[in-house]
Amino acid sequence: MSKKNKSNILLKILEGFINLVIFISILQILFEDIALIKGFDPKLKIILMFIGFGIDLIFTIEFIARSILSTKNRGFIAYFFYQYGWIDFLCSIPLLIMNSLPSFILFLTTKTLYKSTVGFIKIIRIIRAIRITRILRILRVLKILKNLQNANSKMAQNHLSQILVIFIFTLLISLIGYSFISDFSVNKMIEKQVQTYQLVFLGYNQIINDFHVNSKYDELHNFLSKIKSSFLVDPKVLSVEMINLPSQFKLQDNLLYKIDNFDHIINNFSNYQLDIGFFRLIFSTQYFENLKTSVELLIFISIILGSILFIFIYLRSFVTRISDIIYIIFKGIKHKDYFLMVKIPENYKDEEIFEFAKFYNDIYLPAKRKQYQKTEQTSKISIDDLMNMDL
């Protein structure tokens, strides 16, 4: 095997590997968000964190390698600005430095998970989805688009990549805009919830004080039983503990309310502790986190589905209505004995490309045919065909 063949095979293996990593990275983002919403086991979250770190590391190495190689070819600028190097960059170094590396180091040193990913960085992870365009090559290999002769044409892929980048960035900008609206921020929502609880529990405090002043301890017990049932209707309330109670109350158990799977929720979901007078309230903030994550997940799924639809619908349309036609005409101009006509669909015959194809069919090919003389016949067999002969 020649050196060139070997390096081509190696290049194909590497390309295949990177495509696989892109595919895994999409799944990783998807699972990470689902794990957050569904409160998956921390072990799974650790695995996902490790995978995320591995992906960012691989993409970083790939970006650096491509950057170095680009200096030998068309230059770094060409790679960075015209061959989507900037996407490779966004998907690698910032994510590694600001997200997965700190999480990784934190876990190695403290064995705890780095919970709060910076919002913008979290959004930028979705940029990884842009690299789905590279998966076009996988699709070609899988022959999913086997009916599309020129699905692997550079022009088709570049146009589709450009459209996908615009599509994905539109959604991302919307998401970033959404994250900047303070009313939709998780902290703001928690703040509002805290205010609501404060109002309610300050009222309870007032009533308890009244009972205390009037020494109505039996009524106090009844009152506490009543408010206990009101916590049941609010799934965000995880536990309510009585604190700083006057000694005359003699409550057997200071714990007023606690949900059944309290420990699991405390360990796997985010929560907030609030002391209001006689009460210590622990409520789940996961609901608000979930709202935020759901929006991100929705955008991410929209990106993936949108990209797939673009690949199957737009790419198909582009290939059958542009690149196939160019391919046939180019072949007809290049090869003297190629006389296949371009197929012109009735519905699109007014489009410029098909008008051009009509000119090729009706004027160029007949003129070429008139000129064409089948002179010296060339054989379809070559001397190389004898090389591997075993007589």
Binding site: D324, Y327, F339, P366, K380, I381, L391
Partner: protein
């Protein structure tokens, strides 16, 4: 010698099984191999002296031996093919119906087989039989005639009414196959002073065809001069034949189509099929190439239904 025979056979088996010519008909494959040997002669002469090839024979003798073995194979295969067509795919009784006179079908078959055997044995004539082989192999006439008779449009009108040949589609298939088989008699040197493919002017072409038709009718007197003329004139462009010769005009187009036929050529995405493309271009250059515009237009319209 036996070892050399075996090696030559293996050598030819190898060449004939190569993907680029695997799907060619024997005549097409022979042309490819001859061209290959011609273009690579110096290299082959060196290679053939190597121990793994034919070290015991001088290279020129080796090549001559290879070519004669190839020719024998191709002639045998082609004769078998045409024999099968003549004996099992053509109903010669149609000649009786068309000319309204008694004929001995078995005698015509026998004479046709003998004539085709002679023609195939001649290298020049054989090479001109390539499109005939493909047309018959593909059952192209069957498909085309069925479609044309179904449409009952221009070509049907020309074949039936203008040519005054009032027969049904299956009969016309046999009729055209007989004409097609005889068409290359004009390129059979032993029976023609000058063969058609060497003619340079139109007058010469017409002259050769007229003489050839007369020679043909002498060879097989059971076949009428009209059929001989229709068969031979299918080598002539529209402007050099008479208006009633619709069969010749149709066969002229088909012979040209299959002269450029590439077996196994797949339809490319975004392109018309090879047939549709060929007729599409042919209708634009019909006048220059002598194709009947009406017939080629109709063939263009039915091109995608033919296969």
């Amino acid at each position: 010698m036996a070892q050399t025979n075996q090696k030559v056979d293996q050598f030819l088996d190898h060449l004939l099984s190569l993907p680029p010519i695997k799907k060619d008909c024997p005549i097409g494959a022979e042309q490819q191999i001859i061209t290959f040997i011609k273009t690579n002669l110096p290299k082959l002469e060196v290679s053939f002296t190597k121990p793994e090839f034919f070290p015991d024979l001088p290279p020129k003798e080796t090549i001559a031996y290879i070519l004669s073995t190839l020719q024998k194979r191709v002639v045998d295969q082609s004769i078998n093919f045409f024999k099968r067509i003549i004996t099992s795919e053509i109903d010669f009784s149609i000649l009786r119906k068309v000319r309204k006179r008694p004929i001995d079908e078995d005698k015509i078959k026998e004479k046709m087989i003998n004539l085709i055997t002679e023609m195939i044995s001649d290298p020049i004539c054989r090479s001109q039989m390539k499109p005939v082989f493909y047309i018959l192999e593909q059952k192209y006439i069957n498909k085309v005639v069925d479609l044309l008779f179904e449409r009952k449009a221009f070509t049907y009108n020309e074949l039936v009414r203008v040519q005054k040949c009032y027969i049904e589609a299956p009969e016309y298939v046999s009729y055209l196959k007989i004409l097609l088989l005889l068409s290359q008699f004009v390129n059979y040197p032993p029976e023609n002073k000058k063969i058609f493919i060497n003619a340079s002017t139109n007058e010469e072409k017409v002259q050769i065809c007229n003489n050839s038709a007369k020679t043909l009718v002498r060879k097989i007197p059971e076949i009428d001069i009209i059929e001989c003329k229709l068969a031979i004139d299918s080598n002539l462009p529209e402007n050099l034949i008479e208006i009633w010769q619709a069969s010749s005009r149709l066969l002229f187009i088909l012979l040209h189509r299959f002269n450029e036929y590439e077996p196994g050529l797949k339809a490319e995405k975004g392109a018309e099929t090879p047939d549709k493309s060929w007729y599409g271009v042919a209708r634009k250059i019909a006048k220059d190439f002598g194709y009947s515009k009406g017939i080629v237009d109709e063939l263009y319209l039915i091109a995608n239904e033919i296969r």
